[in-house]
Structures are given as structure tokens and as C-alpha cells.
Symmetry: C2
Subunit: 186 residues, 2 copies
């Protein structure tokens, strides 16, 4: 019930500097070619500051993805059908998979960084919990009687960035998408 204490001015300034530096370095050298030290140096900030603010590599990636991710979440919660409310559960499910694949393929490296920075990272991220809840609710509606919660995890497994990276590398985006779509809608 206390008011949220305002973010200090230097903290805000540094957060901006770090995000800008990270975006720049990732663009120039690729996500996998940039160390946390390099991000801190480019931002003109100490290492401790970087980790205090973002927790770990995964947290930095999540912060960079935040805006895009929220767009998708809002489209699901309140956008037009079939992605948003209004369509039947089965249709919303396939619409979600398509939209998520758009998002994923557009930011594959960054999502992979957010999911693989530490073991089990994927399942701890706030965004994953959102996708999971969404899918679980739709599954419960589309297939009454199924054990929706674990099934939703299983359904999301082929959408893991690590998996899609391997699939895209071997078959290209088009076949990769089709395969995942085929499994999920079946």
C-alpha cells in the first residue's frame, strides 16, 4: 500500500544508457558476440550497476524485448479476433502460434539469450508465464477434460528459441514454421 518509491535520477539515466549501448552492440556484433563487460564498458557504467539493474544476461534481453512483447500481450488480451477475444478457442490457439512465431523469428537471438542465459531461465521469465497461462486457458476450453496446465507447457516446447534456432538453421523459416504449426494444430 506504500507508494512505489520513485526511481532515482542517476538510476534512470544509467538504465537508458545501458539499453542503448546493448542495442547498439548487439546490432553491430551480434547477440552472441557481446559480453556483459562489453555492454558495461560501452555504456560507461560499472559491472555492478549493470547486474544490479538487470540481474543477469537473461534480464538484459528481457528488458530489450519488453516493448515488442507487450504489444503481443496486449493484442492477445484486447486486440481483434482471432488473436484477441471473440473467436473460438481452437482458432485463437492457432492465431497465437502464428503471432508468436512472427515475434520469435523477428527477435530470435534476443529471445534465445533471454531463455538460455541460465538453466531453467525460460520457465522463470514473466513473459513465458503469460504465454503459458494463455495457452492453458484456451486448451481447457478447446479440449475439456484434458490436463491443460502441463499440456500447455508441452505445446510451447517446440516454440523454444533454442529449438526454433536449430530448425531455422537446418530447414529455413518457412518449413520450420509449417512443422511447428502442423504439430500444434494436430
Amino acid at each position: 500500500m506504500g507508494e512505489p518509491p520513485r526511481e532515482r535520477a542517476d538510476a534512470a539515466r544509467n538504465r537508458t544508457k545501458v539499453l542503448a549501448a546493448a542495442a547498439r552492440l548487439f546490432r553491430e556484433r551480434g547477440v552472441d558476440g557481446v559480453s556483459m563487460d562489453a555492454v558495461a564498458a560501452e555504456a560507461g557504467v560499472g559491472k555492478g550497476t549493470l547486474f544490479r539493474r538487470f540481474g543477469d544476461r537473461s534480464g538484459l534481453a528481457v528488458a530489450l524485448l519488453d516493448e515488442r512483447e507487450r504489444e503481443l500481450q496486449e493484442a492477445i488480451l484486447a486486440g481483434p479476433a482471432p488473436l484477441g477475444p471473440g473467436a473460438r478457442a481452437a482458432e485463437r490457439l492457432t492465431a497465437f502460434v502464428e503471432a508468436y512465431l512472427d515475434y520469435l523469428l523477428a527477435h530470435l537471438d534476443l529471445v534465445r539469450m533471454s531463455e538460455t542465459a541460465s538453466p531453467g531461465a525460460r520457465y522463470r521469465i514473466g513473459a513465458y508465464r503469460f504465454w503459458h497461462r494463455h495457452v492453458a486457458i484456451l486448451l481447457a476450453e478447446a479440449r475439456p477434460g484434458c490436463d491443460a496446465d502441463p499440456l500447455a507447457h508441452a505445446l510451447l516446447a517446440p516454440l523454444a528459441a533454442e529449438h526454433m534456432t536449430a530448425l531455422v538453421a537446418e530447414y529455413g523459416p518457412a518449413r520450420a514454421r509449417k512443422a511447428v504449426r502442423a504439430l500444434v494444430t494436430g
Copy 2:
């Protein structure tokens, strides 16, 4: 054409020492609580030797899993139906998933170590290629016209050790198995 050059005696001795030491430490302290340094020290062997022989953490885990893994592979290639040849493709597929889940849940930590030591490790391991080829062949037979190769990857995605670890931790092995089975047979 050339005969395979025999393994030198000291190399064989050290390989045995390392595998024994690793098995012992993993049993005592858990897979995640043992560093490569610790394995080398316990085996009375230099770090360079450890890495030269096994490549990386993933390789060490694979070596430890080797025997169990080969049993399953042989049962698939030449064992009794429905896991081995003789049953219809769809039945062999569900039999494979059951058998693989047995194997996976019995060695979850070690398989996870083998799959997550480095990014993309899972898809480079020889064993994974075997499971993938098996599943792809069965899929091509069970669902003619489907794009079996990428679809087989998608089908294997929920069987990733990382995913099953999260599922088992949250819902226990029974529900986890049922969920994966439901997705794969659907």
C-alpha cells in the same frame, strides 16, 4: 582402409579413472554441484586431459550415458515390437516415446547436462540424431505427405531434458508423462 589406431594404454586408464570419478562425484554431490575441475582432481588427472578426451561437459555426460543409451537404440533397431520393428508406425512411435521417457526420467540430470552444456548442444549429440532419424522415418510412414524431418524435431522438443525437468518439478512425473504422451499421440 587404415586400421583404427589402438587407444594408448595410459589414455584408456585415464578414461576409466575419469568416468569412475565423475560417476562417484555426481552420485555424492549431484550433477549440478560438480565442476570439471573437481572431476579432474578426483580422477587424479590434469584438466587438459579431461577436456582432450571428452571435449566438454556435454561430452562427459554423453560418455556416462553411453551404455544405457545403446541399450535403447538396440531395442529400437532389433528388439521386440512394438518398440522394435514389426508393429505399425503409429504404435512404434508411442512405444518409442514411452521408452524414451523411461530412459530420460531415470537419468534426467545427466541428460540435461548433456543437452545444455553449451548452446545448441542437444542438436549436435549423436544420440539426438538417432532419435530424430527414427522418429522421422516413422512419421513419414504414419503420415504420408507430411514434412517428416522438421516435424520430427518438433515432436522431440517436449522431450528435451530442460523441458521435462521443469514439468516434473511442477507437476510430478506422472502428469508430466501423460501430458507429453497426449501431445505426441495427438
